[in-house]
Amino acid sequence: MKFVEKSDTLLNYLWSALITLSVICSVIFGKTHNLSNALIDSGAGSLELIMTMAGILCLWSGIMKIASESGLTSVFAKLFAPVLRPLFPRLNKDSEAFESISMNISANLLGLGNAATPFGLKAMKQLHQLNGCKATASNEMVVFVVMNTASLQLLPTTLAVLRQSYGSKAPFEIIVPVWISSACALCVALILAVTLNKSPVKKLKRKRAV
């Protein structure tokens, strides 16, 4: 669960649409008085939410920093390399691109979203070079980005904190369902990506990339 977002056009439209829609609907449903109450309460409510998350986010970022600086991420990356191997058959296993990919995936697994993105961008740039800087995405890029759009996380910390702050009796009870659900989503994404990569329609004879 990541929520670092840069402002993009989509969000600009979405936000304006939400506000306009709310005002129009409140007039239709005759709930205009609710709207002004919400306007006043919302700021206080969201600040409270941020304060609850701030403590645990700092604490956990600190712990995770220890994990990444002590090389735990690299240990994870080595452990996961054999699993990732078959997904990128055309990449050399000692290539920089493959190394960046496994570092990105293992940082994601540990919930180090901030550390994962730079590795991911590096991997994309290296894959781009291996692909001869073509304007079309290569098979490896598709598989890699699809893996990043599926949420791989061992400890959904923020989620548990949110649940707890809204009065959950067992904030962590959802962890196994989360694992199963994300594993299924990831499998579907990978199966689709790999099969469509092999689709005969677009079969181009590409040379084995180094």
């Binding site: 977002e5 986010l57 220890i66 009065g167 962590f172 989360v178 659900s181």
Partner: protein, 169 residues
């Protein structure tokens, strides 16, 4: 499962000590990054929670839920999670705002609350991730990336309902 976070924290610290990392200094460095992260997301979150609160109090979400409730219930689907399903691939902060709204209305341990939790944990801001990764090398022809990623999101929705039913009911 409650023990998993303290256990992981302990493992990280012990591993750090073995590797001769100045654990507390590094911890402070990381905690500072955490503060910066909060500092950076706070305005986005406040803005989107505001929009979602407005939407909720306008009665629009309620009416939408009532409208799809018969169909949703026939499929064993909590109607309350529909707004989140729609916003999830587009905006991380937006769906967090909807998640907290849902926790307020239904409670985190309700059926809808659990399904929404699992969904939040098992899906990602698809459009954002694709934009960032392909944007950095300026590739527009992404072939079947979006299709596969959205299929994964749909799987996450279905699986979050199935797993919550299996585990808790």
């Amino acid at each position: 499962m409650e023990f998993i976070m303290p256990a992981f924290a302990c493992a990280a610290v012990v591993f750090g000590i073995i590797k001769r990392v100045p654990v507390f200094d590094v911890f402070l460095k990381g905690a500072k990054e955490g503060i910066m992260l909060i500092y950076n997301i706070a305005p986005t979150l406040i803005g989107l929670v505001f929009a979602v609160d407005l939407l909720r109090s306008s009665g629009a979400v309620e009416s939408l839920c009532e409208l799809i409730r018969p169909a949703a219930e026939a499929l064993g689907f909590p109607a309350e999670i529909v707004p989140m399903v729609l916003l999830r691939p587009v905006s991380g902060s937006g769906s967090t705002a909807l998640l907290t709204a849902l926790y307020q209305d239904c409670g985190p341990d309700s059926f809808a609350g659990r399904v929404a939790s699992v969904l939040a944990g098992s899906s990602e801001t698809t459009f954002y991730a694709i934009a960032v990764y392909f944007g950095c090398i300026k590739i527009k022809k992404i072939r079947h990336t979006l299709f596969a990623a959205l299929a994964a999101d749909l799987t996450a929705v279905i699986m979050s309902i199935i797993t919550v039913r299996l585990f808790f009911y």
